[in-house]
Symmetry: C2
Amino acid sequence: MSLLIAMTGWDLESWRQRFQRHLPALEIVALGEAFDRRSVRFAATWKHPEGSLAGLPQLEAIFSLGAGVDHLFADRSLPDVALARVVDPDLTARMSEYVVLHCLIALRQQRLYDRQQREATWIDDRNQPAARDVRVGILGMGVLGLDAAGKLMALGFDVACWSRTRRDVQGLASFAGAEGLGPFLGRTDILVNLLPATPDTAGILNRGMFTQLARDGRLGAPMLINAGRGASQDEDDILACLDDGTLQHATLDVFRTEPLPAASRFWSHPGVTVTPHNAAMSDPDAICALIARQIDRLERGLPLEYPVERTRGY
Amino acid sequence: MSLLIAMTGWDLESWRQRFQRHLPALEIVALGEAFDRRSVRFAATWKHPEGSLAGLPQLEAIFSLGAGVDHLFADRSLPDVALARVVDPDLTARMSEYVVLHCLIALRQQRLYDRQQREATWIDDRNQPAARDVRVGILGMGVLGLDAAGKLMALGFDVACWSRTRRDVQGLASFAGAEGLGPFLGRTDILVNLLPATPDTAGILNRGMFTQLARDGRLGAPMLINAGRGASQDEDDILACLDDGTLQHATLDVFRTEPLPAASRFWSHPGVTVTPHNAAMSDPDAICALIARQIDRLERGLPLEYPVERTRGY
């Protein structure tokens, strides 16, 4: 009985050792080496090659090694077995660190003060907005969105969330569905994207959305923080909207092509902050421990935690 | 019956109008103009000229227009009347914004990613520490220190506070007095100074303190954030400790001479973040409203809120 590691771009041997520690009763095998395909009951994957999970007759479950699961659905021959994502308190905390950090950089005009420092200029702006004067709008009300919302509210920000289907959370302004999107955007100074990559969210961070953001905010023009998925952003629109003032700043952790090509204008645009898709790195040991728990649940006949629904794509 | 405004460097007329709105029953007078010294019952001051509050026979109370009160004690002929500081929830919230922002910049290595962006370099460090791996030590357990501690803990940081005299606060690691300082510094990766300027705190942020900070932290060498008072820092020591690696970074909002002189090495040192003493700007209307409430308390025979104790100097 084995677990198959199917990953691209990550260090296989360190993952194999971790999985073996957490799952001593299983044989740990990997794509690219000889193994008995009939013995594979579980697969742990990150951007596995298309078709590489087909032909595993005993496969019961596929575990994504990251919070995102769009890499699973990129495989059109993905076996029809149970799917689960990683939901790791550590990953959630790190995503919130990132979102809070970049909202505070915007609120406290740290980019302005960095420039003033380079010019050895001392100007103390006595009309700084307080956090309560700045409206953050979070696209996505999953575990990540709600945690970030709570931490931003603790710092005083005026926070609302949007989700595809209505969710009511005590104390949080929430908007839902297509009809809620316009009002949500209209009260948003800092737009934070935490949506998964699905066919519905492909390219939604575009000019049509940015022109609906609040124009009467205390920060001047609105800002974008995308810590979700690169596939959600129209990169030409983001650059054009930064150039014409529709957006003041974009903080991007994800891109349509990663690593971001050296020729990209994002690197040098004065209105852009680039981070290398590390908003929410998870602790690899925490991921392996979670998958070990999930396998234990399956053995005991319990449903998987954090299941991925094929019909909605996340 | 009048309130005397005694300030240096701030715009008098806007303050006069604000005070008049909040205290319609009082005459609002100011230093530098003719007024009846026998009618002055209250003084609102920010860095008033030495001796300018003497010879006011009816003076009952002096209100500092900022959280700091060291400017009061700089006046050796300060009248022996009640003294109070500003404690404004808005000012407290802003100070915590600043402290959380700069702790997150350190935790999330934002200065490194800024450099990588300038060089169009994509390197995602998979060994980032989590907030729980980073120990923040706050000097000062007043309103400001406790608020910042709570918000840092909500983000997961491992926080301790130090104060002159022992204070026990539920859930917060606290150290006190001279004997507690060494153990406090020894478990601190990011040292945050929020102490008032007093004879006891003059120059305490010096090499002797920095060499006691933790050397085994996840961030590498320790960091300093001074959002308290410039008089607390030995600026030559800070620069020398940055140069020799005793400190990795210093984020300074305050300086011994403000505005920071153009020739200061702080402006251009790669290990320094300079902000122009605006960590915690208060809303002037909130200050006037607080002073109006304080005057109302005196009229009703109640003690002042937020009294300043002459013996300890804050």
